[in-house]
């Protein structure tokens, strides 16, 4: 049962991991994007619709990333070029994204057979949980780490790539400089706007894939207008929990995933707590992590210094 619980925790954590990795990338260049939920919604719809019409898993994932990027591009134009308030723009993007998914989702439902847009069984089978040969046979570890659907590995892969990129590469250093102090980065010859644009857009693409995971895999192959349902917001909270590190985000998202499914795996006959307690748990832990981090007085796990503020070269 514990293995089944951990397995379910990993599954529940994957969409959060996409959202968190994306948001970390955006915050690292100094842009707090509260539109994660919206970008996930856009990715969820476009991924599903392309999957529905083309029956091609690769194209569906690509489309979801593209839709997320489009949402992020809107955000980038507004905040980087036009210097609109980041919080307000992000919130607007969330509202826009959920409306986008409902509006086109309704059209999709109207144009489908018996009002149920459903992915073909081949498509769903292509993304089903598969045990990797040899590795999947190892007891416990095989079930936990090598028996997932392919998108789970993609999520971890992207998070690791982002982590290595941010920490160990020169352009990663540049993007961190932009997020910490854009004026200094500018003086050092880094094109601040370009760096912001690139990373915000890529971050949107990653969030978009997370949305596709929700609509295609969690949704069981049938479209639902509210498939994202707040997961994007949890991802924003998770960024803080992960201390702006994609590596920690991997662990963090599975811990958060575990919290969301915990209420269904703890037998009520042994521990009988109200459901509300489990719903509260992830946020309680986030507060705890915030307190611990602030006590450490280290800047290592703190929010990038310029995050949330737009950069005006003229005000240097």
């Amino acid at each position: 049962m514990i293995i089944k619980f951990l397995f379910a925790a990993i599954k529940a954590g994957v969409p959060l991991l996409f959202g968190t990795t994306g948001e970390i990338l955006s915050e690292k260049v100094g842009n707090l994007n509260l539109g994660v939920e919206g970008m996930m919604f856009m990715g969820a719809f476009c991924g599903f619709a392309v999957g529905y019409y083309t029956d091609n898993v690769f194209l569906a994932i690509l489309a979801s990333a593209g839709a997320g990027m489009l949402g992020a591009l809107l955000y980038a134009v507004l905040t980087v070029t036009l210097r609109a308030n980041q919080n307000v723009t992000g919130l607007t993007l969330t509202i826009f994204g959920s409306g986008f998914a409902s509006f086109f989702g309704e059209l999709l439902i109207k144009n489908s057979v018996d009002g149920t847009p459903k992915l073909s069984s081949d498509f769903v089978a292509g993304l089903a949980e598969k045990s990797i040969p040899v590795l999947g046979k190892i007891p416990v570890v095989g079930k936990l780490f090598f028996s997932h659907n392919p998108i789970v590995y993609l999520a971890v892969f992207i998070a690791v790539i982002c982590g290595v990129y941010i920490k160990y590469t020169k352009s990663g250093l540049n993007m961190r400089a932009v997020g910490e102090n854009p004026a200094t980065a500018d003086a050092a010859g880094i094109n601040v706007s370009l760096v912001k644009y690139i990373h915000i857009i890529i971050s949107g693409g990653i969030c978009g894939i997370g949305g596709a995971y929700l609509s295609i895999i969690n949704g069981g192959g049938v479209w639902n207008n509210s498939c994202v349902n707040g997961q994007g917001w949890i991802a924003v909270a998770l960024v803080i929990f992960a201390g702006w590190s994609p590596f920690k985000a991997i662990l963090g998202s599975f811990v958060f995933g575990g919290f969301t499914v915990l209420q269904f795996y703890i037998p009520k006959s042994t521990v009988n707590l109200p459901n509300a307690f489990y719903v509260m748990l992830p946020f309680l832990v986030t507060i705890f992590v915030l307190v611990v981090n602030s006590m450490q007085k280290s800047k290592k796990h703190a929010q990038p210094a310029s995050c949330g503020e737009n950069y005006y070269r003229e005000e240097r």
Partner: protein, 378 residues
């Protein structure tokens, strides 16, 4: 720039003019074709939905199908139905705003389809005495312009329990419940389902997971997976999305849906669903209000009225299911079988209904807070 703006403004004016004339012709056509009585064609009905009927399945969709059936039956035009979708029933201010918008648009009859609208509708009924308010799934009424309507969905759930009991091989049936034992509607329905399971399969147990939400696709899917992990091979549900049925289908097992026929969503898993035909009530009430002879009594319809039923059995059902269900269904319709008839025992060993007694409607709608003896809360 200025020129572009001016051009745009002119364009807008033209489109508005065009749309106005378009609407005008449509209305006059409809008036000719439907009814000559101008009072009837002015009559507007407001509907407050908690979700989005466009979802194509589930709670709001089913209510809206009932509204559409009423509209066709009575020959009302699309302009006479005012819908407010995605109105959170936990938000009294939003509920009030949505209903007042309906009243401003001229609605004389308002249907509120979710439990949480009840108190707001009661207040508004006092403020607007010439508007009729009909609220679904609650219990209050004021005898003049506010009532409640609901149905004996537990009768249908009993029948789906039979299908589940005959199908299960592991003798573990799962049930995704929206609310815990404090909610009589959910708990009574679950108990009826469990009794149906027991009537054909005394060894089977019914395992329950509570999501604490009427509508949450992610939680419902996760609760369903947890039940499947316990070894359940048939999933019943009292929640609004198709997620539990789809989760069952992905594991190659079975399920009984709710609200609408979910065979179209999960064709390889679905057995039969407990379904509502809300059109029965909506047609009856709207007609009565239009004719000015509505009695404003609380309504509690059942299988005999056609308000609740089960969807046609799919090919996934075990052999003999149809016969077993038909037999009980006939008895429910002619009144010779009552679901909540004693002796009933809860899962703590208490007798909750004595031998020979039948639970009254007040208890069924508000007082079932116990789980039947084969229910396991995990």
């Amino acid at each position: 720039m200025k020129k572009v703006k001016r051009l745009l403004a002119v364009l807008f004016v033209f489109t508005m003019l065009l749309s106005m004339t378009a609407c005008g012709t449509k209305e006059s056509e409809k008036e000719d074709s439907t009814s000559s009585n101008s009072a009837d064609s002015d009559f507007k009905v407001g509907v407050i939905h908690i979700g989005d009927p466009a979802d194509g399945a589930g709670y709001s969709y089913t209510h809206d199908q009932g509204i559409v059936a009423m509209q066709q039956e009575l020959g009302l035009s699309d302009e006479q139905i005012i819908r407010k979708n995605n109105v959170a029933d936990s938000d009294a201010a939003a509920t009030r705003a949505a209903i007042e918008e309906c009243i401003e648009e001229g609605c004389k009859l308002i249907f509120g389809t979710s439990w949480g609208y009840m108190d707001t509708m009661e207040e508004l009924a006092n403020e607007y005495p010439d508007v009729m308010f009909s609220h679904g799934t609650g219990y209050k009424s004021n005898g003049t312009n506010f009532n409640n309507y609901f149905g004996r969905i537990y009768q249908a759930r009993y029948l789906t329990g039979i299908a589940a009991g005959l199908k299960t091989k592991t003798n573990k049936v799962g049930y995704v419940a929206a609310m815990g034992s404090e909610n009589s509607e959910v708990t009574g329905g679950l108990d009826a389902f469990a009794m149906g399971v027991e009537s054909v399969n005394p060894d089977a147990k019914v395992y329950v997971k509570v999501t604490n939400s009427w509508y949450d696709p992610t939680l419902e899917q996760q609760a369903a997976e947890a039940l499947l992990d316990l070894g359940c091979d048939v999933l019943g549900q009292h929640c609004d999305t198709t997620a539990p049925q789809l989760a069952a289908q992905n594991r190659g097992v079975w399920g009984c849906g709710y609200n609408s026929d979910m065979t179209k969503d999960a064709p390889e898993a679905h057995l039969t669903a407990a379904v509502w035909n809300w059109g029965v009530y909506y047609t009856m009430t709207t007609k009565a209000v239009m004719e000015g002879n509505w009695n404003c009594e609380n309504y509690f319809g059942g299988m005999a009225d056609g308000l609740v039923d089960i969807s046609p059995l799919s090919d996934n059902c075990a052999e003999g299911t149809q016969e077993a269900i038909d037999e009980v269904k006939a008895k429910i319709v002619d009144g010779s079988f009552q679901v909540f008839e004693g002796e009933l025992q809860d899962n703590q060993g208490n007798i909750v209904c004595k031998d020979g007694e039948v639970l009254d409607d007040a208890t069924i709608t508000g007082g079932i807070n116990w789980y039947y003896r084969n229910v396991v809360v995990q």
